[in-house]
C-alpha cells in the first residue's frame, strides 16, 4: 500500500517536473524562434518563417494580407508580434538594433522615430530601394526613410491625412449643424475657429460631454498641420523659439481651461471608456483612427460619426517597414515588406483597417474611392482623406520629435486640464523636454 502511494507520488512529481520542463523548453524554443526570427521553419517542412515586429494596429493580419501572401507563396509562413504602444516598442527596437539580437525579420517604425533611425541605424538595415518602387510612393514619404547617400531603410505603409471626426447626434443636440460640408465651413482655415465652435458646443452641450476628447489630441492636431514644428530644416531643435509651437500650446491650454476638452490621455483605458460612453463630440482623426473608434465603441454608436475636413490639413502618423540586415531571410523579408506596402495591398488595408495609402496610385483604386466605414455611415471617407493628403504640409521631422511631443502633451497641456495655469504647464513641459534632450 505504502509502496504504491510512494510510486504514485513519484509519478506525480515526475509528471510535474516533466510538464514544467517542457513548459520551460517550449518557452525557450519560442524565444529562440523569435530571436533568430527565421530559422527555417523548425517543423522540418522546409518552410521559411518570416516574423514581423509591429506596434499598435497595422492591420495586415486583420485585412487578410498574410493569408493572401502565404497562399501566393506556399513556402512562406508569416508570424507577427505586436506591442500596443510605440513608446514601449521603440526603445526595445533600438536596443535590439544596437546589439543585433532579438530582432524580427521585419520591423515596423513609426514616423516619429524614422528620422532617428535613418540617422543612427541605417547601417543595420537593408537598403530596400531595390525592392520597393520609388515611383509608387509619395515623394516625401520615400524621402523620410532615405539617408543622404540614398539608402532607403524603410518602405512606407501608410500616412495619416487628418480630418475631424464628429458625432452627428451630439452636434445636433448642441444646436450645431451636422452636414459635413457645413461643419467644415464653421472652422475652415483656422484652429482658433475650431476652438470657438467648441465654445458654442459647450454652451448647449449634452450633460457630461465635452467638445473634444483630450488636450493631447488637440495640440497634436494643430501641430500636425504645421510644416515646421520642433526642428528647423537644418536639424536644430527650435521648439521653444518656434511661434507655431507656442501658439498651438496656448490655444490648447485655453481650450482646456475653458473645459472644452476632457481631462484624458489618448490611448489609455480611461480614454477608451470615454469613446465607448460617447463622452465627447469631436476628435482629430486620421483614417486609422476610424478603426480605433470602431474597436472601442459600443455597437449602437455605428453610423453616428461623420468626417469633416480639418481647419488645416495635417498628417498624423504613418509607419514604415524595415528589414534588419542580421535576419536570416532578409531577401524573403524584403520581398514581403515590398509586397505589403505595394499600392494594391495598401488599398486593401485602407478598405478594412482605414490605414491611408502612402502610394498615390492607390487613391484611384475602387477600394479607396468607394470606401465606407461602419462608424461613419456613407461618408465618402476615401475622397475626404485623399483631399487632406493632398493638402497636408511636407513636415520637417527630427530625431527626437516623439520625446518633444510627449513632453508637450503628457507633461504640458494635460496639466491645464487638471487645473494648473498654462504658464506653469508650459514651464513644466519645457523643463521636462530639455532635461530629456540633454545628453
Amino acid at each position: 500500500m505504502r509502496a504504491s502511494t510512494r510510486i504514485r507520488r513519484k509519478a506525480v512529481v515526475l509528471a510535474a517536473v516533466a510538464s514544467l520542463g517542457t513548459g520551460l523548453l517550449a518557452g525557450c524554443a519560442d524565444d529562440g524562434d523569435n530571436e533568430s526570427g527565421s530559422s527555417n521553419g523548425g517543423d522540418g517542412s522546409g518552410k521559411t518563417t518570416i516574423t514581423l515586429g509591429l506596434f499598435g494596429t497595422f492591420g495586415f493580419k486583420e485585412a487578410g494580407l498574410y493569408d493572401e501572401y502565404m497562399k501566393l507563396n506556399p513556402d512562406v509562413v508569416i508570424k507577427e508580434n505586436v506591442v500596443e504602444r510605440n513608446e514601449n516598442y521603440y526603445p526595445a527596437l533600438v536596443n535590439h538594433l544596437t546589439t543585433n539580437s532579438g530582432l524580427m525579420d521585419i520591423q515596423g517604425i513609426e514616423v516619429g522615430n524614422i528620422a532617428e533611425v535613418v540617422a543612427t541605424q541605417s547601417d543595420k538595415l537593408l537598403d530596400l530601394s531595390k525592392y520597393g518602387k520609388k515611383a509608387d510612393y509619395l515623394e516625401w514619404k520615400w524621402q523620410q526613410a532615405t539617408t543622404k547617400d540614398g539608402t532607403t531603410v524603410g518602405l512606407g505603409t501608410d500616412v495619416g491625412p487628418m480630418a475631424i471626426c464628429y458625432r452627428k447626434d451630439l452636434f445636433q443636440q448642441a444646436g450645431l449643424p451636422t452636414d459635413r460640408e457645413e461643419v467644415a465651413k464653421l472652422w475652415a482655415g483656422d484652429w482658433k475657429k475650431f476652438v470657438d465652435v467648441g465654445r458654442d458646443y459647450q454652451k448647449k452641450a449634452p450633460k457630461g460631454t465635452t467638445f473634444m476628447d483630450s488636450p493631447g489630441g488637440l495640440i497634436n492636431a494643430i501641430l500636425s498641420s504645421e510644416t515646421e514644428r520642433f526642428y528647423d530644416a537644418s536639424g536644430k531643435v527650435v521648439y521653444k523659439q518656434n511661434p507655431a509651437v507656442k501658439a498651438a500650446f496656448d490655444l490648447t491650454a485655453e481650450a482646456a481651461e475653458d473645459g472644452l476638452v476632457g481631462n484624458q490621455t489618448q490611448f489609455q483605458p480611461a480614454w477608451d471608456t470615454t469613446i465607448a460612453n460617447s463622452k465627447f463630440a469631436a476628435m482629430s482623426c486620421p483614417p486609422w483612427m476610424l478603426g480605433y473608434i470602431k474597436g472601442k465603441s459600443k455597437p449602437e454608436a455605428k453610423g453616428k460619426w461623420d468626417v469633416a475636413a480639418a481647419p488645416k490639413s495635417g498628417n498624423w502618423g504613418g509607419s514604415f517597414l524595415a528589414v534588419p540586415k542580421s535576419g536570416k531571410n532578409t531577401e524573403a523579408a524584403a520581398k514581403l515588406a515590398a509586397w505589403l506596402t505595394a499600392p494594391e495591398q495598401q488599398a486593401k488595408l485602407f478598405k478594412v483597417q482605414g490605414s491611408f495609402p502612402s502610394t498615390p496610385a492607390a487613391y484611384t483604386m475602387p477600394e479607396v474611392t468607394s470606401a465606407k466605414n461602419d462608424m461613419t455611415g456613407d461618408a465618402p471617407i476615401g475622397e475626404i482623406f485623399a483631399e487632406a493628403a493632398k493638402n497636408a504640409p511636407v513636415q520637417v521631422i527630427g530625431p527626437k520629435d516623439q520625446i518633444i511631443q510627449q513632453g508637450l502633451t503628457d507633461n504640458g497641456v494635460i496639466l491645464v486640464a487638471q487645473g494648473k495655469s498654462p504658464a506653469e504647464a508650459w514651464e513644466n513641459a519645457v523643463k521636462t523636454i530639455d532635461n530629456n534632450l540633454d545628453q
Partner: protein, 339 residues
C-alpha cells in the same frame, strides 16, 4: 599430520609469495604501483584542495559575467557621453555626469519620492505584517490556508497586480473612487495628485509584500520558546504585555532583517510606479510626482537613450544604498548594544 602441516605451511609460499607466478622484475612493478598510488594521492589531494572551488565557481563566474562586469562597465560608461543608438561611440566627459546630478532637480525629486514612497509603504507594511503574524501565531483552524493565502500576493506578478490597481484607482470609473463616493468623498485623481498617487503606489507595494513579511515574522515567533510565555503568564502578564515584553524583544533580529530588506526593496522601486503611470511613459506622472530613482534611471537610459547619464545615476544610487546600509548597520549595533 605433517602432511597436513606441510600443506598449510606451504600454502602461503605458493599463494602469498606468488613468486613463481610473478615476473622477476618485481621491484619495478612495486615502484610503479607506488608511483601510481602517489599520483592518485596527489590527485586526490589536488582534488580535495581545488574541487570545492570548482563547485562554487559557477556562482562566481556568473557573478563576474552578470554582476561585476556590468558594475564596472556601468562605472566606465558613466564617465562618458554615450547614447543608446550607438553604445560603442563613447566620448570621455570625466565626472560631468556626476556633477550635473547635483543640480538635476529631477534626480532629487525622484530621490525624495523614493524616500516618501519608501516610508509610507514600508512602515505600515511591517506593522501590518507584525499584527498578522501575531494573529496567525494563535491556534487557528485552517492556519495553513491563511498562510498560503498570505503569500498569494507575493506570488502574483507585479505587472498583473499593478494593472489591476490602475483600474481600481481610476479617476472616473475606478472602484475605489466609487466606494469613496458612497460615503460622500469627491473623486480623487489618484494619478495626478502628488500624495494620492504616492499613496496609491505604496498600496500596491504594501499589498504585495505584507504577507511575505508576515510569514517571516511568524516563523520567528514560532521559534520563541513557549516557556517564556508560560512564565510571563505566571507573572500575570496579559496577551498584550506578553507581545510587547516577550515577542517583540525576541523578534528584534528578524525585524532588523525585514527592515533592511524592505529598505533595499523600496529604494529600488520600479515596476509599480512604471505601470501605474497613465501616460505609459517613465516620467512617473505628468509632474514626475511619483517618479522614483529606478524609474528616472530607466527614463534616462531607455526612453531618452542617454546611457552615460543613466550609468551615473545607477552608480549614485549604488552609493546611496551603501550609505543606507551603513546607517542600518550602525543602528543595529546600537540596538544590540542597548539590549
Amino acid at each position: 599430520m605433517t602432511t597436513g602441516h606441510d600443506t598449510t605451511a606451504a600454502s602461503p609460499s605458493t599463494e602469498g609469495g606468488a613468486a613463481p607466478g610473478r615476473p622477476p622484475g618485481d621491484a619495478a612493478a612495486v615502484e610503479k604501483e607506488r608511483r601510481h598510488r602517489a599520483r592518485l594521492s596527489r590527485r586526490w589531494q589536488r582534488d580535495v584542495r581545488w574541487s570545492p572551488y570548482a563547485f562554487v565557481s559557477p556562482f562566481f563566474l556568473l557573478f563576474v559575467a552578470f554582476g561585476l562586469f556590468p558594475l564596472v562597465y556601468t562605472g566606465w560608461a558613466s564617465l562618458h557621453k554615450v547614447e543608446l543608438t550607438a553604445p560603442t561611440d563613447m566620448d570621455w566627459v570625466g565626472l560631468r555626469n556626476y556633477t550635473r546630478i547635483f543640480d538635476d532637480e529631477f534626480f532629487w525629486n525622484a530621490a525624495q519620492n523614493t524616500l516618501t514612497i519608501g516610508i509610507i509603504s514600508t512602515v505600515p507594511q511591517l506593522l501590518m505584517a507584525m499584527g498578522l503574524a501575531h494573529i496567525l501565531n494563535y491556534k487557528l483552524r485552517g492556519s495553513t490556508f491563511y498562510r498560503v493565502a498570505m503569500l498569494a500576493p507575493y506570488a502574483t506578478s507585479i505587472a498583473a497586480a499593478s494593472l489591476v490597481f490602475v483600474l481600481l484607482f481610476g479617476r472616473d470609473y475606478g472602484m475605489i473612487n466609487w466606494a469613496l463616493g458612497l460615503v460622500g468623498v469627491d473623486n480623487i485623481d489618484w494619478q495626478n495628485e502628488t500624495w494620492a498617487s504616492q499613496i496609491a503606489v505604496s498600496t500596491i507595494v504594501i499589498w504585495r509584500w505584507t504577507g511575505y513579511n508576515a510569514l517571516i515574522y511568524l516563523a520567528a515567533m514560532q521559534a520563541i520558546p513557549q516557556d517564556l510565555y508560560e512564565s510571563a503568564a505566571l507573572d500575570g502578564a496579559n496577551r498584550w504585555q506578553q507581545f510587547f515584553h516577550v515577542t517583540l524583544p525576541s523578534l528584534r533580529p528578524t525585524i532588523l532583517f525585514t527592515t533592511v530588506v524592505s529598505t533595499i526593496g523600496a529604494s529600488q522601486l520600479f515596476g509599480e510606479p512604471l505601470l501605474f503611470d497613465a501616460n505609459k511613459g517613465a516620467s512617473g506622472g505628468s509632474q514626475h510626482q511619483f517618479q522614483t530613482l529606478g524609474l528616472y534611471l530607466y527614463e534616462q537610459g531607455w526612453v531618452n537613450q542617454h546611457l552615460g547619464r543613466a550609468s551615473a545615476i545607477a552608480w549614485t544610487m549604488f552609493l546611496i544604498l551603501i550609505l543606507i546600509g551603513i546607517v542600518n548597520y550602525v543602528i543595529s549595533r546600537r540596538l544590540r548594544a542597548s539590549s
